[in-house]
Every structure is written in structure tokens, then in C-alpha cells.
Amino acid sequence: MQGCNRSQKIAICTVGLPARGKTYISRKLNRYFNWLGYKSRVFINGNYRREICGTECNSQFFDPHNETAQKARSDCAKMALQDLIQFLKNGGDVGILDGTNITRERRLQIESDLKQSFNGIQTLWIESICNDSKVIQNNIRLTKINNPDYCNVNSDEATIDFLNRIKMYEQIYETITDDENLSYIKTINVGADIIVHQVYGFLLSKIVSFIMNLHTYPRPIYLSRHGESQYNVDDRVGGDSDLSELGEMYADKLADFFFKEFPTKETKNEIIFFTSTMRRAIHTSDVVASKLDIQPLQLKTLDEINVGICDGMTYTEIAQKFPSDFQERKINKLGYRYPRGESYLDLISRIEPVIFEIERSRQPVMIIAHQAILRCLYAYFHQNEIPEVPTLDIPLHCVIKLTPAAYFCDEKRVLINPQTGEISIKEEYVQEFVRSKSKQKSFIDL
């Protein structure tokens, strides 16, 4: 919701054994806050430790009886916290401390340090508990083996060492108890059980809902614009025009594409299908819906950006009639609000419930909507910086398939020629993306 109170600082700290999804949760939350317009950053204890103590630390380093190692690790953790506090002091809104924090003593120290640095800071502790060995093994496989800690070790040795590391932590693990008087959320076995203790406040309540809906099912999300509309042909904005001839052809080819993607009746019935309440989207969706024998849900929330008084005009006409507005939009496309209309920031706020819905779904999601709307949705999953949103490339006659992987999203773009039905595919895989990101040296996670 727009206009909510931003004067309060928020610090979120994770708790839990290794391979319990703490980093996953931290990054997801960080993503969510940044997308909503808050200045948010993750501070990872592990990164500080790697930078200062080196990356070739085997499990003995994590032995609680290893005093020199303990001191080094404790110092690294303190640095991470200090950087978080500094970030909040320099205009940050939300600081996320991604660490194990498994002892009462450590938690109470952090809580006290945070409360002393800021008047009225809200702190939230998120403990991730998992005793399902399959989930843990999967987590280790997906994220730890490619971790810099094990770059010179083969994957079997890495797994054994990592399991030993976990055993070290288990020796001193103390789950959060109510008498620590902390605001906390415990998520157990990826949300099968959730415990919420003393969590009050606008943003904190949102976090609870968000976390309750998180899961790790790798379901695909399909985004497509409606087929070419009459207004697209005339280069006009706004309006509620219908599809052009080319647009109708696209709708057919799109239906064919989806028919091939979901071959069986079971897979078809599973699809969560959203569209907007505008004619061009409804007509495109109807063609797909009838071919797959499924029903789309028409959400006004997915209607195209409201261009207010410029509705129905071409860009040339707007430049002539409202030159100062035209200029303003060029300079600040993100924040510029059409008179009696909306801005991209308004859009982001408007489609937030849809983001929740998509996050929550464990089944394939199909969305047929409009350019500005899809720019906002795409940016959330693809983790683009917010200022990029208004210029993201979301062309007509193209299906974007996003498959969320551990920390990022795989992407596949299917460009469909509406006349011939010819398909050309462009794919971007997570692995390349992760490798390029991990080459960058950084303590912090943007």
C-alpha cells in the first residue's frame, strides 16, 4: 500500500542451522522490499568470514571448542552487524542479517546492540527449522556445492564436510524461546508449521504473510502481452481497443503454443490463469482458454497503466498538447504520474497482491496482460533494479517463461511469429548468472 510509514527502521535477523533456507528467505525478503521501494540490503555473516578468514575452511573451523576460530568468527559477525547498523543510519530502511545466530547469548547481544543504536527500531527474528533430511540434502546440493568454500574440493567430499559442519553447529543450537522476549517467526519444514510471536506493525505483519506463502516448488510463470491491438497499430496509449488482425493471429498461435506446453488434461487443469478486464487481453485469453478448456480469472488489478487525460492520444499528440508533462516523463519515467492517471510506482503498489498470489502458487501460472504491468511483474522475479522497470523490453508476440531456481530465475523467451507460427527461442540460465555474480567480491548482497 502506498503512503505507508517509512520513518521506522527495521532489522531482520535469521536463525537456524546451515542449509535451512536462511539465505533463501533473506534474499526473497530483500527482493520484496526493494521492489516495493524500500532501501533494503542483506548482510551475510558467511561472506564476511570468507573474506577475512579465507575460503578453505573445513568443518574443524566450525568446532565450538576451537577458540581461535570462534573468536575470528565472532569478530566477523560483529562486523556484519556494524555494517548493517551503519547502513540503516545512512538512509537504509531495512537491514537483513543473514547468519546462524543459534545461541541465546548471540541473539540477545544483537538485539541489545540494535535497540541501542536506534530509537524505535523494529526487530524481527526469523528462525528456519528443518528436520526433513531430504529437504536438507536438496538444499546442500543446490547451493552449497558451488559455494566458494568448496571450490577446490569434489562434490562428495564437500557434502561430507558440510554435513560435519552442520554437526558442529548442532552441538550448541538453542532454538528461540518466548522468554527471550523477541518478536519472531519460526518456519518449520518449509512452512508446514509456522509460529508467530509478538509481531506487530504494518511491515512486520506483511512479512509474516509473505513468509507463510513461500515455498520451493520450481513452478514456471508464463508472461505474455495481449496480441497486437488497434491502438498498438495507431501508436495510441490507453483506451480499451480490440485486437487487430495480426493480434488475433497471435492469439491462435499462442493457444497452440500453450496446448503443446500442457499436453495432458491433468497439467491443463492445474494452471492458474490470470488476465486483465480489458478487451484486448480478454480476447487473447479467451482463445487460449477455449483451446485448453480452462477458465481465466479477469483481474482489474492487471489492467494497463491508467494514462489519465492522455488516454487515446499518440505520443506525438501528447508532446504537442502537454509538452511539460512529456518532458517530465522522459526525465523520470518511473515516478511520473499521468494527470488523473497512474505512475509506474502506483502500478507496483497496485499489483502487489498478484505478486503474493504468484509466490503462493505451487502450480504453473499464466498471465496475459499489458506492457507496463508485465514490466513490473517481470522486474520482481528477474530482480531488476527498480529504475530499470519502465524501460524493460517486453515485446508483443512473445511469451516469457520464468522458472525460479534457488536464488534467481531461469528465463526463456519464445518469440512467436503471428502469421507463420514460427518460433524462435532465447534462453538465459541461472548457472551463468550465478557464476558471474559470485565472481564479484562483496560482503553484502544487493
Binding site: G3, Q198, R340
Partner: protein, 413 residues
């Protein structure tokens, strides 16, 4: 019916908890919320079954008067509980979407029996979600008792009531994971919340809603923005500024709230992002020394192609739309604009904010939007919304209390 999402299955919400734990309060609030967002929802309780059936002694409160030793009482109670469950099944088999059940659910055996009854008799796809309210904070229990029970049962004192509950508590079994039920436990009005096996769109929404509930009886003030020149010209919609009279009235509004709020600066203060809303809120806010949070969610209904026209012009230009609106004022959507149902959906986050707030809430918005907000607190059916009266220069003060909402209106001269 244009709902945000129609579910393919029915939902049964079963309430669990000892008396004076807020079960009835929670069921009323949930029922009100679900009806407001467009579902057909109803409560089925022992009390309800008793009231609808002349065969039972209407003077005895079977929900409260439980004496485990009195076999006849126990039997009547079981009977009523069963009748309520049967009526619930009937309701869902017809066109009901969501049913709330407030009957015998205090033991594992009771719950398994209920589960079986639904399984055997409900011939549709359905989901059950269990909502348990637990209190072990004596202050909270005392408050609950004072608020509701005393009025329901005049000659019970807190002592006799507490003894009564202690007797019942001996046989009470809290929900356990082993029962394999999907549930939420609210402990001491949301201080601690436990959720188990949460699944589905509707249940997620309900959990988010329940997380925000509390027992503070704080005031909610609904006020329209003051007069603009559009009022004088009989035009609807638009984004006009306040007229000189409008600014004057805003000043008087500010004075009224100075007295009413008695220096409390911690209030939750919202306004729309329309010029008249912002200006009214700025003038009032300056008097109170607080700033309103401006949100587009409170903007007036979008009149689409009718925006900026006078009532006469609309009647002349769009007679077909006028007819359509008369026939179905709730669902009528202005072409290229919104319907009341769209406004309800748009304003839902504000309801969450109001519910969450434990301090007084002041909202400055516009006619259609305020009708929707008002309906959440006061109407049993959203079809009443188009007929709600929200006059200008009038402060509507709502104070939600258990099972009701007190209302008073003050015209600012």
C-alpha cells in the same frame, strides 16, 4: 458476481475454544469480512440452532450453561450441535461458499466425529480449517468476560463463571498436530500464533486477517472531503480543489477533532490522493499537528466516461447506463471506470490497516469509497452499499465492540 477469486471448493471454518475465549467474536468478525469481500458466508452455532427451533427451551443458554454432570443438558447440547452441523451442510450444498461452525469441538473425539459427519454428508469438494482461541492471560479473560458474557447472562458473577470454565477446562483438549487437521491457534489475542498445514488462497487470506485482530475498542472516524466547485455545479468525479467554503469547513473539522482526540497524536490518519482529500487532510492535520498518509486506495470511484459530467448530462448522454445502474447498482461498472465491487477490492488493504490499528483511526475520503468502508462495519449484505447515506460535513464515528458497532454522527456547522 465479480469476486477477486472464486474458489472451486467450499470452505468450513470450525471454531475451537473454551467460553470467554473470543470464539464468537472471531466468528462474527470473520463472517463480516468474508461477506464483505463477496463470499456467501454464514455462522452455524448451538445458539443459532436453538433460536431457530421452538422445540428447545429458549431461556437456557446452552453454549454457556454446561454442567457435565447433568446428562440431560449434555444430550440437548449434543443435539443442538448436530442440528447446527446439518444446517451447515445444507447451506453449503445449496449456494453457500463459506460456513463457520461454532459448536461442540472441545475434545479430539468431538472433532473426529465432526470431521466424519462432514465427510459422509457433504457431497461436494470442500476444505476445513480449524480456528482455536486460547487464553491464559487472566487480564484478557476478565476483559472478554466483562465485554460480552455479563450482558448475555445477567446473574453470573466473574467468580462463578471462572469456576464453571475451570470445570470445563478439565475435559478440554487443545488441537494437536497428530489430529491431522489444518489449523491456526490464536493465543492471548494474537500475542502468539501457531499455524499448521496452511493451504489454499482463502485460508491464507483468513490467516492474514486474523493476525491483525485485537480487542482494543478504538474509534474510527469516516469523513468526506469538504466542498468543491464541482458540488456547486452538480458535477461528479473530477479532481477539483476545495472551494473557499470547503476550506472553511475543513478548518471547523479540524477544530472538532482537536476536542475529540484530546491531544492524541498517535492516531492512524489516512487520506486519498485526490486534491480535495489532500487539502482537507492538510488543513485538519495542521490543526492536530499530524500528517496524513496519502494513499491512492482511498481515491474516489472511477466514473470512467461519466467523469466530470453533471447528473443531467449523464442522464441525457448515457440513458442506457443509467438504466443498468438502477437495475443493479452494486455491480454496475461505469464504462472505462469502476464498480462498487472494484472499490471494495481496492479498499481492502485499508480495512486491514484499520483492523490492525489499536489507536483511533481518521479517514478522509469520498462518498463511494466511504460507503464501502462503512458497509464493512455496519452492513450485513453488500447489496445495501449503494443506499448508504454519507453526507458531507458530517463526521461518522464508529466504535466496533463485540458483536456490534456503535455509531454516532456529528454534523459540523
Amino acid at each position: 458476481m465479480q469476486q477477486y477469486k472464486k474458489t472451486q471448493y467450499k470452505l468450513i471454518l470450525v471454531l475451537v475454544g473454551l467460553p470467554a475465549r473470543g470464539k464468537t467474536h472471531i466468528s462474527y468478525k470473520l463472517n463480516r469480512y468474508l461477506n464483505w469481500i463477496g463470499y456467501k458466508s454464514e455462522i452455524f452455532s448451538i445458539k443459532g440452532a436453538q433460536q431457530n427451533n421452538d422445540g428447545f427451551d429458549q431461556k437456557i443458554d446452552y453454549e454457556l450453561e454446561i454442567d457435565p454432570a447433568n446428562q440431560q443438558f449434555v444430550e440437548v447440547r449434543q443435539q443442538l450441535s448436530q442440528i447446527a452441523a446439518q444446517q451447515l451442510v445444507q447451506f453449503l450444498q445449496n449456494d453457500g461458499d463459506i460456513a463457520l461452525y461454532n459448536g461442540l469441538t472441545s475434545t479430539k473425539a468431538d472433532r473426529q466425529k465432526l470431521k466424519s459427519l462432514f465427510k459422509e454428508t457433504l457431497k461436494l469438494e470442500y476444505q476445513t480449517f480449524w480456528v482455536e482461541s486460547i487464553c491464559d492471560d487472566p487480564q484478557v479473560i476478565l476483559n472478554n468476560f466483562n465485554e460480552s458474557k455479563l450482558s448475555r447472562f445477567q446473574d453470573k458473577t466473574i467468580e462463578s463463571f471462572t469456576n464453571h470454565i475451570n470445570v470445563l477446562a478439565k475435559d478440554y483438549q487443545s488441537l494437536e498436530n497428530i489430529e491431522n487437521l489444518s489449523y491456526i491457534k490464536l493465543i492471548n489475542i494474537g500475542k502468539l500464533v501457531k499455524v499448521h498445514m496452511l493451504e489454499g488462497y482463502l485460508c491464507s487470506k483468513i490467516v492474514s486477517f486474523l493476525l491483525n485482530l485485537h480487542a482494543n475498542n478504538r474509534q474510527i472516524y469516516l469523513v468526506r472531503s469538504c466542498q468543491t466547485e464541482y458540488h456547486l455545479l452538480d458535477k461528479i468525479g473530477g479532481d477539483p480543489e476545495l472551494s473557499a467554503t470547503g476550506r472553511q469547513h475543513s478548518q471547523q473539522l479540524g477544530d472538532y477533532f482537536i476536542e475529540e482526540l484530546k491531544g492524541n497524536k498517535n492516531i492512524t490518519f489516512f487520506s486519498s490522493q485526490m486534491k480535495r482529500g489532500i487539502q482537507t487532510a492538510e488543513i485538519v492535520g495542521e490543526k492536530l499537528g499530524i500528517k496524513a498518509l496519502k494513499t491512492k486506495n482511498l481515491d474516489e470511484i472511477d466514473y470512467g466516461i461519466c467523469d466530470g459530467l453533471t447528473v443531467k448530462e449523464i442522464a441525457a448522454k448515457y440513458p442506457k447506463q443509467i438504466k443498468e445502474r438502477k437495475a443493479n447498482p452494486l455491480e454496475f461498472k461505469y464504462p472505462r471506470g469502476e464498480s462498487f465491487l472494484d472499490v471494495i477490492h481496492r479498499v481492502e488493504p485499508i480495512i486491514y490497516e484499520i483492523e490492525r490499528s489499536r489507536e483511533p483511526v481518521l479517514i478522509i475520503a469520498h462518498v463511494a469509497v466511504l460507503k464501502c468502508l462503512y458497509a464493512y462495519y455496519h452492513c450485513n449484505q453488500i447489496s445495501e452499499i449503494p443506499n448508504i447515506d454519507i453526507p458531507i460535513n458530517c463526521v461518522i464515528k464508529l466504535v466496533p465492540i463485540p458483536y456490534h458497532c456503535l455509531e454516532s454522527r456529528v454534523i459540523i456547522k
